[in-house]
């Protein structure tokens, strides 16, 4: 038996409790979604590169879009990549505006080759990848949301009143990398609830904004365009939501790594989750 320090409460060392944390359906949806997200992101950046700027309203502001990537040719023939945001310009050579193409030659392109699908500039191919995975994402999302509603799992994601009160304390706990243990580890804490709920909503808005860019869908559902304040606004919302999801994924991966990567990964692959033992 392990030694027990005098400051710890006496306890018996129990057999680790292992539970099925995520249902098979949720696990499948998670990984299909992850795959779709990365394929859609990279093909989406390819599509964005065909017009690497964003406008608000119905039509494109060609002169001074509030956000754009562009390239400037210098006297010696070299290219400078320029990112412009709300009238301010930044030199982003090598990453945004001008970066090496798949052949290593510097070229004018919004996002760099390593971030786009395919790597070379090819709008037609980017669109084919994008719409294929868009269908998969939507069908997968319908299964997930259907399960959320029919299986009454929505309440797992909806913060309660006491959850909301606990926000400051939970933020502090996260900042100190103190993660819940025991049964509390099986419930989503309020930050998880808000993050996961926001992701479900972000995906829904993302898909709607994407559909609003379609002239055919706009004709079938005329309310979509005003909902987003115009087609170019919808394109901007689509981009911003995708950016939000990129930020989510980055934080998500960091949290998975920090809070027990093996246990977390196992719980999302086989479902098995080992409950972290109660306090020290």
């Amino acid at each position: 038996m392990a030694s027990i320090s005098s400051t710890s409460p006496a306890r018996t060392v129990a057999v680790p409790r292992v539970v099925v944390r995520h249902s098979g359906l949720v696990r499948v949806c998670h990984w299909v979604n992850a795959l779709c997200f990365f394929m859609l992101l990279m093909s989406g950046l390819q599509i964005f590169n065909a017009r690497p700027g964003l406008s608000w309203g119905q039509a494109t502001q060609f002169k001074n879009p509030f956000f754009s990537f562009s390239a400037r040719q210098n006297d010696d023939g070299s290219l400078t990549g320029v990112t412009t945001l709300f009238g301010r310009s930044f030199d982003t050579t090598g990453v945004f505006g001008a970066s090496p193409g798949p052949d290593g030659e510097m070229e004018e392109r919004g996002f760099p080759a390593w971030a786009t699908l395919p790597a070379e500039q090819d709008l037609a191919m980017g669109r084919r990848w994008h719409f294929f995975f868009a269908w998969l994402l939507v069908l997968n999302g319908l299964v997930y949301v259907g399960n959320l509603l029919i299986g009454r799992h929505l309440r797992d994601l909806l913060p309660t009143r006491s959850d909301l009160k606990a926000i400051p304390r939970t933020v502090l706990d996260h900042a100190r990398l103190r993660f819940p243990r025991g049964d509390a580890a099986l419930r989503y804490n309020v930050l998880q609830k808000l993050a996961y709920l926001s992701v479900v909503i972000a995906f829904a808005v993302l898909v709607l904004a994407g559909l609003t860019m379609s002239p055919a869908i706009d004709s079938a559902f005329p309310w979509l365009v005003p909902l987003f304040h115009g087609r170019q606004s919808a394109r901007t919302v689509h981009f911003v939501m995708a950016s939000y999801l990129v930020a989510f994924v980055a934080v998500h991966i960091v949290m998975v790594l920090l809070s027990g990567v093996f246990n977390n990964m196992r719980s999302m692959i086989t479902g098995r989750y080992r409950i972290p033992e109660e306090a020290r």
Binding site: F132, L186, P215, S219
Partner: protein, 260 residues
């Protein structure tokens, strides 16, 4: 906690079975191999079927805008000044000698001057032009209703598509054997907003926008809206035209149905 079930073998199996979806990604495959293209094309067919199904019951019109919404700048795209001598000669004479040929699977092949086209039932509309590249402009268009023209020509029962053959070539250098062309089906050809535009923003159509005649198919993307239209043919299939995908950009990998 209701989810904290004991691990079951069943759920593990379910997870593995669903893993069978992953090879669809083709990440590790050559992204241009015929097998990958074949899978991706299925999504294209699904998109077309879904959008057609959504649009069919209501013959929905594309949104039309008030005059104040017309954008001061309308980006000319693709060809903006065709160089072939035949077109240049027509342009120099202000298209006075230009004639639109209408043929193929029609009862009455015709040749129409601009004056003949202006005499046909027309429609004026202020619509948003969405380019496949992602930008949009709003402009006013007026032109002969394609449905009226086709009614006058009399479509034969075998006719399934309308093909538009243009004066311009986007090849570099321009290639007269590879001029711009487009095809649409009869659903779009007979749609009330499908017009052969000779007027843009209340003035005769400019060369950069496709003078003397440009197709407008408002529920699809810009590349469907052929400029510099010289000849129209009713056809039963576009498999025999150029690379067989139904249009200049379609032959270069873009979707034939450009609803999104």
């Amino acid at each position: 906690m209701s989810r904290a079930l004991l691990m079951s073998r069943r759920s593990l199996l379910r997870g593995l079975a669903a893993g069978g979806l992953l090879p669809l990604s083709g990440c590790s495959l050559d992204s241009r191999s015929p097998a990958v293209m074949n899978v991706l094309d299925r999504a294209e067919a699904l998109t077309e079927a879904a959008q057609r199904a959504l649009l069919a019951p209501r013959r929905a019109l594309a949104r039309e805008y008030p005059p104040g919404a017309i954008t001061p700048y309308f980006k000319p795209n693709g060809s903006t000044d065709p160089e072939n001598p035949g077109y240049v000669a027509l342009r120099r004479s202000g298209f006075a000698d230009w004639m639109l040929e209408v043929g193929g699977l029609v009862e009455h092949p015709m040749k129409l001057s601009l004056a003949d086209l202006r005499a046909l039932p027309s429609r004026s509309q202020i619509t948003r032009h969405d380019c496949v590249e992602g930008w949009s402009c709003i402009g006013q268009w007026k032109g002969a209703k394609l449905s009226a023209l086709l009614a006058a020509a009399g479509l034969k029962p075998q006719a399934r598509f309308i093909a538009f053959f243009c004066a311009d070539s986007l090849d570099d250098p321009p290639n007269d054997n590879d001029r711009y062309y487009e095809t649409i089906d009869l659903i779009d050809a007979l749609h009330p907003q499908t017009i052969l535009a000779y007027e843009m923003n209340y003035a005769p159509l400019k060369v950069e926008h496709g003078a003397p005649l440009r197709l407008r198919v408002e529920r699809q993307l810009g590349y469907k809206m052929a400029k510099y239209v010289m000849r129209i043919e009713a056809i039963d299939s576009f498999a025999g035209l150029h690379d067989g995908r139904g249009g200049y950009w379609e032959d270069r990998g873009y979707e034939w149905y450009a609803g999104i």
